[in-house]
């Protein structure tokens, strides 16, 4: 029998994901947080988990390199990947926002927006008929306005502490986000019974949590 392959976004979603998997009896004994290993197998359930950079999860799933993935809605929006977005996992919640030291950027004809999410930023401001210039950064986006690189940023916030400490505040909220279970469209069809079994189990756990 083929393995079901699951890509999990490295970083903040890993712990909650493993917890969720454990609740449906899916454990990966050889996983440890300090391991350099990138794939882990549960032989009994015939499931293989791979850890990849969160921005790469939509690509792995869309192209069928893995059957399913666990990734933040932010990455799904940014990639525009065509996948089935079957379950809102309810953890990893955060917001996509515009943040800035002031609202002065609103008066500029074409403000400069620093972000890890250029497509989301462009789409959001396009809907408001506001032309922008984006600068794509890969980390510490909060620094950009202070360093004079941009007028504002588009980024995800969980608690807002980092923003505050860097003299930024939320000026606009773009979307509420959470972790999603996504499935490759062809896998869902060709491995329907195995995947829908897993998905139903996960959905049941999430429903149980929501009822509490």
């Amino acid at each position: 029998m083929d393995y079901v392959e699951v890509a999990v976004a490295k970083g903040r979603l890993v712990d909650s994901t493993l917890e969720l998997f454990a609740e449906i009896g899916l454990v990966f004994p050889d996983y440890s947080p300090d391991s350099r290993k990138l794939f882990f197998t549960n032989e009994e359930r015939q499931v293989r988990m791979v850890l990849v950079k969160s921005a790469d999860v939509p690509t792995y799933v869309e192209r069928g390199a893995v059957d399913m993935g666990i990734v933040g809605k932010d990455q799904l929006l940014e990639s525009g990947a065509e996948v089935y977005e079957l379950v809102d996992l309810g953890f990893g919640t955060c917001k996509m926002v515009v943040a800035s030291p002031s609202t002065a950027y609103r008066r500029k004809p074409k403000p400069v927006v620093a972000t890890k999410y250029p497509k989301i930023a462009q789409a959001y401001f396009r809907d408001k008929d506001q032309p922008i210039e984006t600068i794509t950064l890969h980390g510490s986006v909060e620094l950009a306005p202070l360093a004079g690189l941009s007028d504002c940023i588009v980024d995800i916030v969980e608690t807002g502490t980092t923003l505050k400490e860097n003299g930024l505040y939320i000026t606009e909220e773009i979307a509420a986000l959470s972790a999603r279970l996504v499935v490759n469209r062809a896998s869902f069809k060709t491995k329907f019974h195995r995947l829908s079994g897993l998905v139903d189990q996960i959905q049941a756990v999430i429903d149980g949590r929501e009822r509490q």
Binding site: R48, Y84, L86, R180, R185, A186, K189, T190
Partner: protein
């Protein structure tokens, strides 16, 4: 300075003689099947007026057509789709709309790369058929079984075909007065089986409870045909929805009688290009390959645009994807990550 003369542009690729021979062989098999089915191969120009594709709603995104400028300043596009030019051809020359006509094609399609990582994203080969002049389920069954035979003929194992019904969602939303933007958003949520966001979105819609229930149910209406068709009947709200399910049931029964039942599933959440399809639509999937390799369906409205009201259905096989899927299958017979 970049030496572009040594490079191949993004999204297109050379084919070695081995690869080309393999491709020709597969194309030969498929072309023979088409011919045996009474389909006559036709050819349409490699470039057409941009207006042809621009004015027909909901087929190819404007941005994805590859444009060139004619000597008189008019905008031309490299063939972004095979069906529209063939429908024009079928509608012209005083055609009789009730005459059964069968056309086949094997052709290159050109689209702007939506996928910079795919070597064949801008020029790819499609082989397909169009059947004009029959609005009945008999015609749907004929083209769907031909599509299945294509995959059988080239030795693909474990593939599945999903059958959908464009009118099911259309007739459901006819019960509402939602703006087209809202409908598109709902359609996207259903298409991506995004249950959580769909539930939230539907919650606040100004529509009757039965409509809400039906909208939420659509993405779940997927799986083994008999069970799904039975479930679908529970959310029917009007006679058009019922007619749609009746059609699908009749098609499924005929296909399974012909021995194709094992390949079929029903997915009422299948609704790509809803503006274009007007009845039964279908997609074929290969195991371990992330994209559909066959797309098809009924498009009865298209020929009206060319002044001839003839019913039509057809499909296209994405040959390059098919070849990759077959290769994966041959190479992979082991397990897991390649």
């Amino acid at each position: 300075m970049e030496r572009l003369s040594r490079l191949v542009p993004n999204g297109v690729n050379d084919l070695s003689h081995q690869d080309l021979e393999h491709k020709q062989q597969i194309l030969g098999e498929i072309a023979q099947l088409f011919k045996d089915g009474g389909y006559h191969q036709v050819q349409t120009p490699i470039f057409e007026y941009y207006d042809l594709f621009k004015e027909i709603k909901g087929t190819i995104e404007m941005d994805r057509m590859i444009k060139v400028i004619d000597t008189d300043g008019k905008v031309l596009v490299l063939r972004p789709d095979a069906t529209i030019p063939i429908a024009r051809m079928a509608a012209s020359h005083g055609a009789d709309p009730n005459e059964l006509r069968r056309f086949a094609y094997v052709t290159s399609i050109f689209r702007m790369a939506d996928d910079p990582q795919n070597v064949q994203s801008r020029e790819f080969t499609q082989a397909g058929v169009e059947l004009f002049g029959d609005g009945g389920v008999r015609a749907d069954v004929e083209v769907i079984s031909l599509a299945i035979r294509c995959l059988q003929r080239i030795g693909m194992a474990g593939f599945t075909f999903d059958l959908g019904q464009a009118n099911f969602f259309k007739a459901l939303t006819a019960e509402t007065s939602l703006a087209s933007e809202e409908l598109l958003h709902l359609q996207h949520l259903i298409e991506t089986k995004n249950f959580a966001d769909l539930r939230r979105q539907v919650q606040d819609l100004p529509v009757r409870q039965e409509v809400k229930d039906a909208l939420r149910a659509i993405p779940r209406l997927y799986g083994p045909p008999e069970a799904v068709l039975e479930e679908a009947r529970k959310v029917i709200l009007n006679s058009e929805m019922e007619a749609g399910i009746d059609e699908l049931t009749a098609a499924y029964e005929a296909l399974s009688q012909a021995g194709y039942g094992e390949f079929l599933a029903v997915d009422l959440g299948l609704m790509n290009n809803l503006k274009y399809y007007t009845g039964i639509l279908f997609q074929g999937y290969a195991p371990g390959y992330g994209k559909p390799i066959v797309l098809g369906g009924r498009y009865d409205e298209l020929s009206k645009y060319f002044g001839c009201d003839t019913k039509a259905t057809g499909f296209a096989v994405y040959i390059d994807d098919l070849i990759t899927a077959v290769k994966n299958q041959e190479r992979q017979n082991g397990n897991g990550l390649r």
